[in-house]
Subunit: 208 residues, 2 copies
C-alpha cells in the first residue's frame, strides 16, 4: 500500500485517540471537582473509567501531566460556560452582569458535579508548590486581569464612579462569587445562589 | 502494692498518653491545612511524625476518627486565635472589628502553615458526603450563627442601620475574609491581607 492509502486509517486512529484523550480529561475534570486534583491519580481515574492504568499511562505519562491537562480541559469548559456568555453582552456593566449570571447559572446547572472547578482548585493548591501550583497562580492572575478589564470598561463608559478602585471592587465581587459556590455545594441549597446574586448586585450598586 | 500506690503511675501514663495524642493532633492540623484532610491517612501522618502506623492506629482506630478529631483540634486553635480576641472587645462594632483583625492576624502569623484550616476544609469537603462532610456542615452553620450574633449586636446598639440584612452582611464580610485567605496563601503576598482589611471595613461602612 502507498502512503496515501494508509492515510485515512492513520487519520481515523489519530482522531479516535484524540476523542479518547478528551473523554478521559472530561471524566478527570468531573472527578477532580469533587475529590480534588491531588486525589486524581492514574489508578483512581483508571478505576473510575474502568480502563487499564497502563492505557492511561500511555496517554499522560505522569500524574502531574494528567493534572496539568485536566486544568486546561476545565479552563475550556469555564470559557464556554462563563466567559463566552459574558462576551455576548455589550461591554460595560451589561457584560459584568452577564458574567455574574453565567457564573451562577454554571453553578446552578452543576456543570461540574463538585461545583466550580477553579474554586476547588484554588483552595486545594494555594499552599502547595510545584508545577500545578504555578499553573494555578498563573490562571488566577489571568482571571483577575480579565475580571478587572470588565470592571474597567464599565468605569470608562461612566457606568461606575470614576474614583472606583478597580482591583478592590474585583476582589469584593469575586469573593462573593466564590463563597456562593462553596456554600451552595456544602449546603446543597439553591437559596445560596440568590444570596450571591444579591451580593454582587449590591456591591455594584454601591460603585455606581 | 495498693491501688493508691498505683495511682500516680496510672495518672502519669494517662497524662503522657494525652500529651502524645494532643501532639499528634497538632501535627495533623498543620499537615491537613496544606495537604487537605483527605490526604491525612494514618500512614502519611506516621511518616510525618516518624512513628509507627500501628501506634497511631491505637490512638485513632480509623482515618475518619483521626479526621474528626483533627477538626476538633483545629476548632480549639481557631477559638483561641480568633474567637477569644473578639470576645475581649466590647459587644457591637468593636467586637466585629476585633474579629476581623484577629482573623487577618491569624493568617499573617501563619498559625497553620497552609492558611486558614477551615477555609481549606470548606472547599475540600463541600462536595463530599459522610461524617466529615456532616461535621463541616454543622461547624459552618455554627460559625455563621456566631458571626450573625456579632453583627446583630452592632445593629441592636444602633451602630449599624436598622434595615441592615444581617445574613447578607455576614455573607459579604465572610466572603472577603475567605478570599483574602486563599489569595494570601496562593500568592504569598501580605498586601492581599490589607485588601481583605479594606474590604471588610468598606462593607461595614456601607452598613452604618
Amino acid at each position: 500500500m502507498t502512503n496515501s492509502e494508509h492515510a485515512p486509517d492513520r487519520r481515523r486512529r489519530r482522531s479516535d485517540g484524540a476523542r479518547t484523550h478528551a473523554a478521559i480529561l472530561d471524566a478527570a475534570t468531573r472527578l477532580a471537582s469533587v475529590e480534588g486534583l491531588e486525589g486524581l491519580t492514574l489508578g483512581r481515574l483508571a478505576a473510575e473509567l474502568d480502563v487499564s492504568k497502563s492505557g492511561l499511562y500511555a496517554h499522560f505519562g505522569s500524574k502531574e501531566q494528567l493534572q496539568l491537562e485536566t486544568i486546561d480541559a476545565a479552563l475550556e469548559v469555564f470559557g464556554r460556560e462563563v466567559i463566552v456568555p459574558a462576551h455576548e453582552a455589550p461591554e460595560g456593566l451589561r457584560r459584568l452582569e452577564a458574567l455574574f449570571e453565567a457564573y451562577f447559572s454554571y453553578l446552578e446547572r452543576w456543570v461540574f458535579p463538585g461545583g466550580c472547578f477553579f474554586a476547588s482548585l484554588l483552595a486545594e493548591m494555594d499552599a502547595r508548590s510545584g508545577a500545578v501550583h504555578e499553573k494555578v497562580v498563573a490562571s488566577e492572575r489571568q482571571w483577575l486581569r480579565d475580571f478587572a478589564g470588565y470592571v474597567e470598561a464599565a468605569r470608562s463608559l461612566g457606568e461606575l464612579r470614576a474614583d472606583v478602585d478597580i482591583e478592590q471592587l474585583v476582589f469584593e465581587l469575586y469573593a462573593c462569587m466564590e463563597l456562593a459556590n462553596y456554600h451552595f455545594v456544602l449546603f446543597r441549597d439553591p437559596a445560596v445562589l440568590d444570596r450571591g446574586r444579591r451580593a454582587v448586585a449590591h456591591i455594584v450598586d454601591q460603585a455606581r
